[in-house]
């Protein structure tokens, strides 16, 4: 039980990175970027390829972040931004980014094939941390996620860019008439979100031990659950949502459930994620913690 809880904390950290990046993208455009998961996938491939050539996990991490940043920026500049400027509805953009998602997945299949790529970092020897058993890799993942989140919150709350980001999220037209170049702020935000998501793709691949061109898309569905639970477009709520969803997803399957006569397999993760998403949308469509104005469907 404590073992899976420890595992859940690592999953939650990765989920928090992915979800906070997604919520940044959502906040600054007011549309859901369904191709968000592919930023993680590209990050994983970039890390893997760089790691093979350089043998350095740190360079691999940087490559994953940069590749994620570039892909996210390209998504905004080539698709989402123009659609917004031409006044497309959120539904249209939702579908366009879903299309983008398939394009990226299949492009990766063409170049790298659809088979599982094994990617393992040496996790090191597990040791006791308080009540949990963590490997050094686990600790690095959790510590880096916390560090990235803290830096991100400092950027959002303290810098001029952060204030402009919040202004554009809350009221794009008013931001523009205040002299803020909303397009540039949104592009920078996507780049920043891409750095985080690309890095998340790297740690997720390293933590799971393998990936495919479809791996980010699966994780996107869990990301969406965390972001909706936390309140879309709200960074603090999203991190909290990710921690809760991440831990539930690891702990739930480990609970003994009498009527199936044993433990539920962890491969039901996605089913659980959707169950949580459905419940949240029914009960608190604006997130667990907030009275936020928006839901994913507005």
């Amino acid at each position: 039980m404590l073992l899976t809880l420890g595992f859940g904390i690592v999953t939650a950290s990765i989920l928090a990175l992915s979800a906070v990046a997604f919520t940044l993208e959502y906040g600054v455009t007011n549309v859901a970027n369904v191709s968000h998961g592919e930023i993680l996938t590209v990050g994983a491939y970039a890390a893997y390829l760089t790691h093979q050539r350089t043998g350095s996990a740190i360079i691999a991490a940087i490559a994953a972040a940069l590749a994620g940043g570039v892909v996210a920026l390209a998504m905004y500049s080539s698709l989402i931004g123009p659609f917004i400027r031409f006044g497309a509805t959120p539904t249209v953009i939702f579908i366009a980014t879903l299309g983008m998602s398939f394009v990226i997945q299949n492009t990766l299949v063409i170049f790298f094939g659809a088979a599982n790529v094994a990617y393992t970092l040496d996790p090191g020897a597990p040791h006791q941390v308080g009540p949990f058993l963590f490997t050094p890799l686990d600790e690095e993942i959790v510590a880096s996620a916390i560090a990235i989140t803290v830096v991100l919150f400092l950027i959002i709350s303290r810098t001029k860019f952060g204030k402009a980001l919040r202004a554009v999220s809350q009221n794009r037209e008013l931001a523009r008439v205040s002299g803020i170049n909303a397009t540039r702020v949104a592009a920078s935000t996507f780049f920043l979100a891409g750095l985080i998501a690309g890095y998340a793709g790297f740690v997720l691949a390293a933590f799971v031990g393998s990936f495919t061109p479809y791996f980010g898309f699966g994780f996107f569905l869990i990301t969406l659950t965390a972001a909706v639970a936390g309140g879309l477009g709200r960074a603090v709520g999203t991190v909290a949502g990710a921690v809760i969803v991440g831990i539930i997803l690891e702990v739930l399957p480990a609970l003994p459930v009498p009527f199936v006569g044993g433990y539920i397999s962890a491969s039901y993760n996605l089913a659980f994620a959707f169950a949580i998403l459905a419940i949240v949308i029914l009960v608190r469509p604006r997130g667990l913690f907030t009275s936020a104005r928006r839901t994913v469907f507005e």
Partner: protein
């Protein structure tokens, strides 16, 4: 530019939202130190005209000059640097930013003097000073409108454009808003204002335009239009 040229000069402006034009060949001018009003029935295109002036929608014909400089078709974020501040009718504050942060944002394009300007505006709007750390979405309607005005004024604009500043406010706040608008006008600002409460507006306006179906219909000194019962009844509505 000569001192008697209008601060804002709009000539033959045509604009819309992609379909047929909503305003067609509209011409208006606004002088510094004066209140210029645009009145007209609902749906006449008044807000659309303001959005086209402010750079939120691109005009398809005509020209806009600010202080003698052609700014036609400039995007909104550039227009504010040319001296035009625009206060929309709704969604005119950043709801989750504090009063001070809203004003910071209003001064985003300023190179310097943001803090000093906020202190100046706090003197003009003492209510805001008292609660500068409150979030905009916790303010009353009247306070919110004051904040919206102050946000626009952060750039010290020669031209201030207001879309129905007193709409939806209690009568006592409407009086307060007009007091502030008169005070702003007295600082040599060209105030261009749309209002639903036409009588009150015409009383304050040195010059007013009647816009009907997206076109100029009439113009004249506010008081003169107000005295012309026929004008009021025909174009403005009896009770408004």
């Amino acid at each position: 530019m000569t001192s008697d040229a209008p601060a804002l000069e709009v000539v033959g402006l045509t604009a819309g939202y992609g379909g047929p034009p909503v305003i067609e060949s509209v011409s208006i001018a606004a002088n510094r130190g004066a209140i210029t009003a645009i009145v007209g029935p609902n749906g006449a295109g008044k807000s659309t005209l303001l959005k086209a002036i402010a750079g939120l929608i691109r005009p398809t014909a005509g020209s806009v000059k600010v202080l003698g400089v052609d700014v036609t078709g400039l995007p909104a974020e550039k227009l504010v640097r040319k001296g035009v501040a625009y206060v929309p009718q709704v969604a005119n504050v950043f709801p989750e930013l504090t009063i001070r942060e809203n004003l910071d944002m209003g001064g985003y394009s300023r190179k310097a003097g943001v803090r000093e300007r906020i202190e100046q505006l706090f003197k003009l709007f003492p209510d805001l000073a008292a609660s500068s750390h409150r979030r905009a979405n916790t303010l009353s309607g009247g306070q919110r409108t004051m904040l919206a005005l102050a946000r626009g004024l952060m750039v010290d604009p020669p031209v201030l454009i207001l879309d129905e500043p007193s709409a939806g406010l209690a009568p006592k706040f409407q009086g307060l808003i007009w007091e502030r608008i008169e005070a702003i006008k007295a600082t040599n600002v060209a105030v261009l204002v749309i209002e639903q409460n036409t009588r009150e507006t015409l009383r304050h306006a040195q010059w007013a335009y009647v816009l009907v179906l997206g076109q100029n219909r009439l113009e004249g000194p506010g008081q003169k239009l107000l005295d012309d019962e026929e004008v009021v009844n025909l174009y403005v509505g009896r009770l408004s």
